[in-house]
Subunit: 300 residues, 2 copies
């Protein structure tokens, strides 16, 4: 095993790739408007006052608006009963101006997120977290794919000329990232391994990966010696940690300075996967609008 010293060129520039995707969405939104006279519309629903969630939904709404789409925000109090939220979703399901519905997670205790997610009609489920879209992804039927793993896939496609036959190792088996990521990689023709909290030798398995996707939320879990020389590393984790000078910084699940010595390509944190998630939300909203407004146009 030769440990080729990585060049700075090995960074996967998520910001730039997300900007290109967003620009393409904008152009296609305008084309859809010219063709059908209609604009895609996204409804974002926030329940409660979690400050991080407030930042996320404001950002999503703003980006949607900037991409030329209609953007609707529904902000409900922490005490909202589940039935009231389901009533709102039913109205949004039936609203012809709305093509995508996103309910920001986490939800307050009195609300079952699975019930809420599955109440969104599948063709407006732009987060791709409902059971119908999860099933379509598993079965290889076109559907709406969760934004973060879709963003990771686009980063990989932009980085690797082809993925068929590569061994992809996914660390983390969540419904939000790890599991749909594994399905997407399988669809690309990768051999796929999934590791998680119960995996006995995650480092050994990770070293088998031509592609390594890490989504555990445990900052600094993946050290340089977990990386196969020449691998492509996608770091989904994002955690705010204190620095020596009393400030804070964002770090990933991968020890970046070690990993970049070994990997051929690696996403930085921040500026890697993060920007892709919101760009993919815009992409999914456009796809969802096309399903209704221009079904013959097909999915891009």
């Amino acid at each position: 095993m030769t440990q080729a010293r990585a060049e700075p060129g090995n960074l996967i520039d998520g910001k730039a790739i997300a900007r290109r995707l967003t620009d393409r969405v904008k152009i296609e939104v305008e084309a859809l408007r010219e063709k059908t006279g209609q604009l895609p519309g996204l409804a974002v629903v926030l329940v409660g006052n979690d400050p991080a969630s407030e930042v996320y939904v404001r950002n999503k709404a703003l980006q949607t608006h900037r991409a030329g789409m209609r953007s609707f925000m529904h902000m409900l109090p922490e005490t909202t009963p589940q039935d009231e939220l389901l009533g709102l979703i039913a109205r949004l399901n039936g609203d012809p101006q709305i093509h995508g519905i996103l309910v920001q997670l986490p939800l307050p205790k009195q609300i079952d997120p699975a019930v809420v997610t599955n109440a969104i009609v599948p063709h407006k489920d732009v987060d791709g977290l409902g059971e119908v879209n999860a099933g379509r992804l598993s079965l290889g039927i076109p559907g709406l794919v969760p934004c973060t793993p879709l963003g990771c896939l686009i980063l990989l496609r932009e980085t690797l000329p082809q993925m068929r036959g590569l061994h992809a190792v996914v660390i983390g088996a969540s419904n939000l990232v790890g599991k749909p990521m594994a399905q997407l990689l399988l669809r690309e023709g990768c051999t796929v391994s999934i590791a998680h909290i119960d995996t006995r030798d995650p480092a050994g398995l990770a070293r088998e990966g031509d592609i390594l996707v890490v989504a555990t939320g445990r900052s600094g879990l993946v050290r340089g010696d977990w990386i196969r020389p020449g691998a492509t590393v996608i770091d989904v984790g994002i955690t705010r940690v204190p620095t020596h000078d009393g400030k804070t910084k964002l770090v990933g699940d991968v020890v970046f300075e070690e990993a970049r010595q070994v990997a051929a390509h690696i996403t930085p944190v921040p500026g890697g996967v993060g920007p892709m998630t919101i760009a993919c939300l815009l992409h999914n909203t456009l796809q969802a609008a096309r399903l209704t407004l221009d079904p013959q146009g097909g999915l891009a």
Copy 2:
């Protein structure tokens, strides 16, 4: 690596395990009848005259009947239009005597199997092949699980005291077996790897498996040196091949006489996975009936 010579005791007796499962279903069917006054009912639909399919559906119908349930067979001509089949499924969806609907595959060319499978209401989809049940399996929500991988899981549970942390390797990534099998193994806490036609070194990956599930339909693919000493091997393949004396016999995807020298536990073909598939269909039909007739009773 020590190559412990296997004892004959290492056979996984699918016939006996399937019989025990079927017996348990019978008892529970009777208990459900006593509690609710109703019997589970399974409708099996065959389109066309494929001789193998005719044998399968007759056998399914007969076993259902023997388990004390109502059994309905619908045999339609090869030329049946898709709309006519969808009309039948709509009637079965609405029929209170029917709790499970199974459409035998393959279907004639004029019929899209995905459309037909997804036309079955999810709570009657006893084959577990529709997108809602596939999504539930992926997301870890209770649902109806495809019969063959469910049968493999039960064989593994009967054989291994616990699976958490074991590395399970699945060879074959079909919607019918490989993909749902991977989901089930993940749910058991296994580290899971999925190999398929594009996998570069399937033998090397297979040798990593504490559990090896093979479902490729390629008889004799997996040789003895693909097996990790002490592994548990589940062979889903079943192919009829000619013998030297001019007759035929059924063989699996694994070269049995080689593999049993290395594996700690292995399913024979026939008599391994095969009998479990139909037992799991009965099990699923009972579960589906309970969902409607005795929802408080919960799933076994």
